[in-house]
């Protein structure tokens, strides 16, 4: 549905050059909820703007619904309006001088479609109902709350019946509580109408919750494209793993197949086929650590000292000192730990990456 092939973009900032996109290639299938996940400044917005036509890539080709909308080599660059897209901006970009209904109908009446007013109002009412804003139709848009503005922005984007919906961090301006609520609404709504969505976020939880597939972007390059579970469980690199949540890290050197020397001692890993003396990086998620008050004499077990704990309500983070390094254990049970404990690194949970 959306095909991005070899897209690069360079900005000239004074005499400096910034390259937010480096040879990006992606494919989004029809009906997919595709999430682009990346830290801020990684080029997500730039990519989305290239797809929408608000920005022109310096290199590459973009197709929407089998139609080339941009191609450097063929000298094609369709107007945003000709691409059949709807877009929700990070700032929502609600026109503050118009009413809620006018915000939705202006593109219908004065845009490509040139609908007669009566039909446009009907259509506007229909999409506003979809986002449960039909009751506030005649309100001035400047009086809306953040959540309501977000809904109107979605309604406006859907009103022109786009083939593709582009969303640029649409939840980042909402407070935490509202964010979860609206997230579920977006998920249900887009599934209900079956539209293809390209969605941008820097929040891995949001990405996991929404995506049918995730692409991880960093430094303007696609690092991994996978199902959400897979990205979480088998991150392709140290960089991707860090993006998907805090981890405990150990640098190490392979002694022989399955055994690694680390600052805290020798660690057994499940990964095979590493060469002796390879420098590698071991990662284990906070919740995958096993901590007990007495030794079980199992594999990869190390004595540790509890330094402090952080109580977060539904979870507790224990800060441990293991040998010369620090680790964090995340648990969902409020338990009393003695000063000295034993931390175990389950072999199958350890992620192995090439070292620096």
């Amino acid at each position: 549905m959306i095909e991005i092939r070899g897209v690069s973009k360079i900005f000239n900032v004074g005499t400096r050059q910034v390259q937010p996109l480096r040879n990006v290639t992606l494919e989004v299938r029809e009906g997919e909820f595709f999430v682009l996940l990346g830290p801020s400044g990684s080029g997500k917005s730039t990519l989305l703007r290239c797809v929408s036509g608000l920005e022109e890539p310096d290199e590459g080709e973009i197709s929407l619904d089998g139609r080339v909308v941009f191609s450097k080599s063929k000298r094609i660059a369709l107007d945003p309006a000709d691409r059949g897209i709807g877009m929700v901006f990070q700032s929502y970009a609600i026109w503050p001088h118009l009413s809620v209904l006018d915000n939705v109908t202006l593109p219908l009446i004065r845009g490509k479609r040139r609908m007669p007013r009566r039909l446009a109002v009907e259509k506007g009412r229909e999409v506003l109902k979809l986002v449960q804003m039909d009751a506030l139709m005649d309100r001035p848009a400047s009086l809306l709350s953040g959540g309501q503005q977000q809904r109107v922005a979605v309604a406006r984007a859907l009103s022109i019946e786009p083939k593709v919906l582009l969303m640029d961090e649409p939840l980042s301006n909402l407070d935490a509580r509202l964010r979860e609520e609206v997230r579920e609404e977006i998920k249900n709504l887009t599934r209900q109408i079956g539209i293809t969505v390209l969605y941008i976020t820097h929040d891995q939880i949001e990405a996991m919750a929404l995506a049918s597939r995730i692409a991880v972007l960093a430094n303007g390059e696609v690092k991994q494209v996978s199902l959400p579970r897979e990205v979480y469980k088998k991150p392709a690199s140290h960089e991707v793993a860090t993006l998907l949540g805090t981890m405990n890290w150990l640098s190490g050197r392979v002694i022989r197949d399955g055994l690694v020397e680390t600052p805290i001692g020798e660690v057994r890993i499940g990964t095979q086929g590493l060469g002796n003396d390879d420098e590698i990086l071991l990662g284990i998620r906070l919740e995958h650590l096993c901590v007990a008050s007495s030794a079980a004499a199992g594999e990869n077990e190390f004595p540790a000292e509890v330094i402090s704990q952080t109580f977060l309500g539904d979870q507790i983070w224990y800060h441990l000192r293991v040998g010369p390094t620090r680790m964090v254990w995340k648990t969902f049970h409020d338990i009393d730990l003695p000063k000295t404990v034993y931390a175990r690194l389950p072999k199958e949970k350890i992620l192995v990456f090439a070292g620096r």
Partner: protein, 590 residues
């Protein structure tokens, strides 16, 4: 079919993305045309300073450095420049000495009746300098000034108390006249300063003085410096007060020197000399322009740091202080607005000016009003009205195009556009007037005969206010999120509809208030009109006053000034009402 043709459209060059061919070109023409004319006029001055003899041929008489050599030798000019420096320094001292504390009081203290200060300040800004200068002459002239004579009689002095017909005298008046400019320039920076940064310093143990010195002052410094450069440009270029007070007594400053050189009582104008000294001025102006911009950039950087979301805590004043402050403010307005206007009323009913007394009152008559050449006054009023309607509109069209390109596009030449639009702000307006005069007389006389026409004033005013118009529009445009336009484009709304339905309505407050403001500036404009308003076809009201004044008919001049004042009052009221209605006063910076 539709889709095919869309695909075959060639890619646009990424200059101004995604506007249709025509819209883009209209924008480019609207923005580059005035920039080109500005740069051309500046270039013309530099050229005139080098041409051997403009009168006998602007291109045919060869190039020389003689005029620059003559600069050193001309004692009159030497004196004028020295006077200008003295005049500007005194004016700056007075303007900042009063304006800085006043702005602080109005923004950061709990002084009661602050709203009135704003009204008075903006009115002071709008009152034509010509009126005030005439009033001051009637009040403080060493021979005829009412107050001087009263003191002479009372105290038996043999010399006058205050002599305003002197460089320091004119400097003080100019300074008092500039207080509102300082006030309005600095007010927003005081307001934007987050009190939390000061409080943080206090909490962490800095003394009040230490906080001021290490926190407040460095934070305010960019705006102070910016205001300083801005106001000194105005002071150096000032024309109305030096013309009204100094010119008849041969006390010249830069602007009046240019004026008499271009309009000599006898002989041919010495264009070369004016060209040379103007070129020197332009270099200084561009230098200060560059400094101003770099200072402004720094203050923007600070503005990001301060941010919003706090309520300014106000410094409590003691009631004694309040009384004292209001007494000073009252005196200020008494001397700068009330008394000059009252004395103008008095002068307008006196055939020959004399101090107010019972016996003089018997001589009061409306003779001046009767003797005024009404057809000339009406011509002036009509021309002023046309200018007030046309000029602000043109400035907004051109300035809007420049602002949009500078803020929104990635057009390569936008730096040049931005710079050219800023030039009229720094280069003394009299130089622009001089340049267009030369252009009209020696270059355009056949192709575009604008000399003596209203068109010449329309052009030069439009260029002169362009800096203001562009800045107001671009600062409002910056505040409008560009996504508001982009979402329109993504939804397929054509550029012209985006302009009418989205941009203009959102910018309406800025457009309306700056339009009114420029209309008022146009009404009070005197400097450029004095150079260029030479016929009935383009005389303006201030020039009618000026011609009576310089012809020694102060009574008639006062009468016409009063008529002008009566026209001004409802306009200023309209400005205030519009300002309140649309909650914009930020635009009020000349």
């Amino acid at each position: 079919m539709e889709e095919m043709s869309a695909e075959l459209r060639p890619a646009r060059i990424g200059m101004i993305p995604h506007l249709r061919f025509s819209t883009r070109h209209v924008l480019l023409i609207l923005s580059t045309a005035p920039a080109f004319v500005i740069l051309f006029l500046v270039g013309l001055i530099l050229w005139v300073g080098l041409v051997r003899d403009v009168n006998s041929g602007i291109f045919s008489t060869g190039v020389t450095l003689d005029h620059y050599r003559a600069l050193w030798a001309d004692p009159l000019l030497y004196r004028a420049l020295f006077n200008t420096a003295q005049f500007a320094l005194i004016a700056m001292a007075v303007a900042f000495g009063m304006g800085v504390p006043l702005a602080w009081l109005a923004e950061r203290s709990n002084l009661p009746g602050k709203g009135i200060i704003y009204v008075l300040m903006v009115s002071g800004l709008l009152l034509p300098g010509v009126f005030i200068a005439m009033g001051w002459v009637f009040l403080f002239h060493p021979e005829i000034g009412i107050i001087n004579m009263a003191f002479k009689n009372l105290l038996g002095l043999d010399h006058s108390l205050v002599n305003i017909v002197s460089v320091p005298g004119m400097g003080i008046i100019q300074g008092l006249n500039l207080v509102p400019v300082v006030f309005i320039t600095l007010g927003p920076s005081y307001r934007a300063m987050n009190p939390a940064v000061e409080e943080a310093a206090r909490v962490h143990g800095l003394s009040l003085l230490g906080t001021l010195r290490r926190i407040s002052l460095p934070l305010l410094l960019p705006s102070l410096l910016g205001a300083f450069l801005y106001v000194i440009t105005i002071a150096i270029a000032a024309f109305d007060i030096p013309a009204i007070i100094g010119l008849s007594n041969r006390i010249l400053t830069f602007s009046t020197f240019v004026y008499i050189s271009a309009n000599p009582r006898e002989g041919l104008p010495n264009y070369g000399l004016v060209g040379a000294i103007s070129s020197v001025m332009i270099v200084f102006a561009l230098l200060s322009c560059w400094m101003y911009v770099s200072v402004l950039k720094r203050s923007y950087k600070y503005a990001v740091v301060t941010g919003q979301g706090y309520s300014s805590r106000l410094v409590k004043l003691r009631s004694k202080t309040v009384v004292g402050v209001w007494l000073l403010i009252g005196l200020y307005f008494l001397f700068t607005i009330v008394m000059p206007l009252l004395v103008l009323v008095w002068a307008s009913v006196m055939r020959w000016f004399q101090p107010p007394s019972l016996s003089a009152l018997k001589l009061a008559s409306l003779a001046n009003l009767h003797d005024v050449d009404w057809s000339m006054v009406l011509a002036g009023a009509k021309n002023s009205a046309v200018l007030m309607l046309v000029v602000p509109t043109l400035v907004l069209v051109f300035g809007g195009a420049i602002a949009w390109i500078v803020v929104r596009s990635r057009f390569q030449g936008k730096v040049v556009l931005d710079f050219s639009a800023f030039v009229p702000h720094a280069v003394p307006h009299i130089i622009f007037a001089f340049s267009i005069l030369v252009a009209a007389l020696f270059l355009l006389q056949k192709i575009l005969p604008i000399y003596g026409k209203l068109a010449i004033l329309i052009i030069v005013y439009t260029l002169a206010w362009l800096a203001f118009g562009t800045r107001v529009l671009s600062s409002s445009l910056v505040q409008l999120h560009k996504e508001l336009e982009e979402v329109g484009r993504v939804s397929g709304i054509p550029g012209r509809v985006i302009l009418w339905k989205i941009l203009l309505p959102l910018l309406r407050p800025a457009i309306l208030s700056s339009w009114l403001w420029m209309a008022l500036l146009t009404f009070r404009e005197f400097t450029m009109a004095a150079m260029l308003a030479t016929t009935r076809g383009n005389i303006t009201l201030p020039i009618v006053i000026w011609s009576y004044w310089s012809g020694g008919q102060s009574g008639r001049a006062s009468a016409v000034a009063l008529i002008g004042f009566l026209i001004l009052v409802p306009m200023v009221a309209a400005y205030w009402i519009a300002g309140r209605r649309f909650a914009v006063l930020g635009a009020t910076r000349a």
